[in-house]
């Protein structure tokens, strides 16, 4: 009885916590505490997930009685911790940002919590229907967050594009699962896997289903050519929501991508280079990395540059997913570790970007950063720090994330793919370093609007936590890497 409740605790804490936040917003006048309250709820959930990890999912056996459609393994727990931490950091950033920009409406925090809950359900889903409910819970929240700046046409445009394309992608994916159900009679992932692995079953509808599901998932992780919504949605959304979408929604997408490709389509025929999805995913990875990096270099807006950067990171992650066909445990743990490093780096970068500007004097383009390193070294430094981590410079976290993914790809014999990924990370250095040029080597043009930094304890706390994790994962990656390897070993 007790252990099984422990398995559900992270989700229960977030679910009831989000309800309490909703009530707190309407029943009290306290606006300022909501961000911290959200962070506390999500940190508590992360702590429960850690407790579940220590007890061990194998000792939580009767959890299946309560929630037969969820899978409680180390994979789920790893993502629960990652998603709860990402959500909490994004909530802290929101605390400062929303107040500064005069859009301090409390529903942001409840939506963010519910969306995080959806991402967890997605990572834990053991059944196609549960997966879809989780996907929609996560996505609908993300659509609302993207359109949260109601007065801004850009926000509305980005949110509408995201919503329309996102619903379409979800429908494609559901259609794929419906075809799979028609062919096999199963909706649970394990049952689907067994049915597809049996030699007797050969149906063209399975190939169509695979294509549809892959398209839907590629949309969620914003892989080229399904990335069109990303720059607009990321640019229009309030920056904390952008951080949330770049970290949590992407992590949720990769959780379900790994689960579906390696569990459902993990049989010998579907996961072989000659007859299955690996060449398609490899092509997606090459397109994603190359297109995103080339286009990112041409952006004027910092947020659009970071949006294309997040697409490029999805490309590197897809390289790891392809490697998982030959070295499942190693490649999967590399992808998980990369997601951890990427999440803290990207949330940190967006948090630092928030701190660089204030209401009416936001940092929008590179020009706005000109001379910031000289005028306000204390806010320029964190931004530069997280950009370095995103670029993959040692000893930052981003370097080791890339290192393990590329190493897994090399060990899997994917030499060509690794070389392309490596060349791409060199191309990416161009636009990351451009930030440095503007921060430290340029002065603003005469009469140009100058970005004024803001001050917020919440944002500074979020930055400090992100910086701690970036240094921890960069200098002492052992603990998290062991955790990621334990996931790979178990799964």
């Amino acid at each position: 009885m007790m252990p099984s409740i422990l398995a559900l605790m992270p989700m229960l804490v977030i679910g009831f916590g989000a309800l309490a936040l909703m009530l707190a917003e309407v029943l009290t006048d306290a606006k300022t505490g909501l961000a911290v309250g959200t962070a506390v709820v999500l940190f508590t959930a992360a702590a429960f997930a850690c407790a579940g990890w220590m007890v061990g999912p194998e000792n939580l056996g009767d959890a299946a009685v309560f929630a037969p459609w969820l899978v409680f393994d180390r994979f789920t727990l790893f993502f629960e911790v990652l998603l709860a931490l990402s959500g909490a950091l994004a909530a802290l950033v929101a605390g400062g940002y929303l107040r500064e920009h005069g859009i301090d409406r409390g529903e942001f925090y409840a939506i963010l919590s519910f969306s995080t809950l959806g991402a967890m359900m997605l990572a834990a889903a053991g059944d196609v229907l549960m997966l879809f409910v989780g996907l929609e819970t996560m996505s609908i929240g993300a659509y609302a967050l993207a359109g949260f700046r109601r007065g801004s046409p850009k926000s509305a445009e980005g949110a509408l594009k995201y919503f329309l394309l996102g619903s379409f992608a979800a429908a494609l994916m559901m259609f794929g699962f419906a075809l799979l159900y028609g062919a096999t009679g199963h909706t649970d992932l394990a049952g689907l896997h067994n049915a597809l692995a049996s030699e007797s079953l050969r149906s063209p509808s399975i190939v169509i289903a695979l294509a549809l599901v892959l398209a839907g998932l590629a949309f969620k992780v914003s892989a080229v050519p399904f990335h069109m919504w990303t720059p607009d949605a990321y640019e229009g959304a309030p920056t904390p929501a952008t951080a949330f979408m770049a970290a949590s929604v992407k992590a949720g997408g990769f959780a379900v991508l790994l689960r579906v490709l390696l569990t459902v389509f993990g049989d010998e025929r579907s996961a072989s280079w000659a007859t299955g999805w690996p060449p398609v995913v490899a092509l997606l990875a090459v397109l994603t990395m190359t297109v995103a990096n080339l286009v990112a270099g041409r952006q004027e807006s910092i947020k659009r540059m970071l949006a294309y950067s997040s697409i490029a990171h999805a490309g590197y992650l897809l390289v790891g997913v392809v490697a998982a066909i030959r070295a499942p445990a190693q490649a999967q743990s590399a992808v998980l570790f990369y997601l951890a490093t990427y999440s803290v780096s990207t949330i940190g970068a967006f948090a630092a970007l928030v701190l660089c500007g204030s209401r009416g004097a936001e940092v929008v383009s590179y020009e706005d950063l000109a001379g910031l390193g000289r005028r306000h070294p204390a806010v320029a430094l964190p931004f530069a720090f997280f950009i370095l981590s995103l670029a993959g410079m040692p000893p930052m976290a981003g370097f080791f994330g890339k290192w393990f993914v590329f190493k897994a790809a090399m060990d899997a014999g994917l030499h060509g793919l690794t070389v392309i990924a490596f060349i791409n990370s060199v191309i990416a250095a161009y636009y990351y370093l451009k930030v440095f040029v503007f921060l430290y080597m340029r002065e603003p043009a005469a009469g140009a609007p100058i970005a004024k930094p803001m001050w917020s304890g919440e944002v500074v706390t979020a930055i400090a936590l992100c910086a701690f994790f970036v240094l921890l994962l960069g200098l002492a990656p052992g603990a998290v890497l062991d955790a990621a390897l334990a996931v790979g070993g178990a799964g």
């Binding site: 309800l19 909703m22 009530l23 309407v26 029943l27 009679g185």
Partner: protein
């Protein structure tokens, strides 16, 4: 391979089509027909069916409609649960109470946010 299990579905489609066709035909053949200008207008739920296309409706309609959907879905879930109440036992009761709690919080939220006020 599971085609035979869909046979009742197919029969339902056939029966539904047949009944609808039958009623339309009977109404056309048997019904008295005395058209007038007023009667020949397209019926649009009591609203005028001509005029400007881009009428701006108040967002209050949307709020009311979405709240209706929420509580409609609630009753859709509660009825089958009530019928199976005894066989579902305590677990069923706890699940339904959890669901109702979520809906209740939503109602309190909507109320306090002023979504139920028409005159504002």
């Amino acid at each position: 391979m599971h085609v035979q299990t869909y046979a009742p579905m197919f029969m339902l489609f056939v029966a539904a089509t047949a009944i609808a066709t039958l009623f339309f035909t009977l109404a056309t053949v048997l019904g008295p027909s005395k058209p007038s200008a007023e009667k020949s207008l397209p019926f649009e739920c009591g609203s005028d069916s001509d005029g400007a296309q881009h009428v701006r409706l108040s967002v209050k309609f949307y709020l009311t409609a979405i709240l209706f959907v929420v509580f409609d879905i609630e009753s859709v879930f509660v009825y089958p649960w009530a019928i199976q109440f005894r066989s579902l036992g305590w677990m069923g009761l706890a699940s339904m109470m959890g669901f109702l709690l979520v809906i209740l919080v939503g109602l309190v939220y909507a109320w306090k946010k002023g979504a139920l006020e028409w005159e504002t």
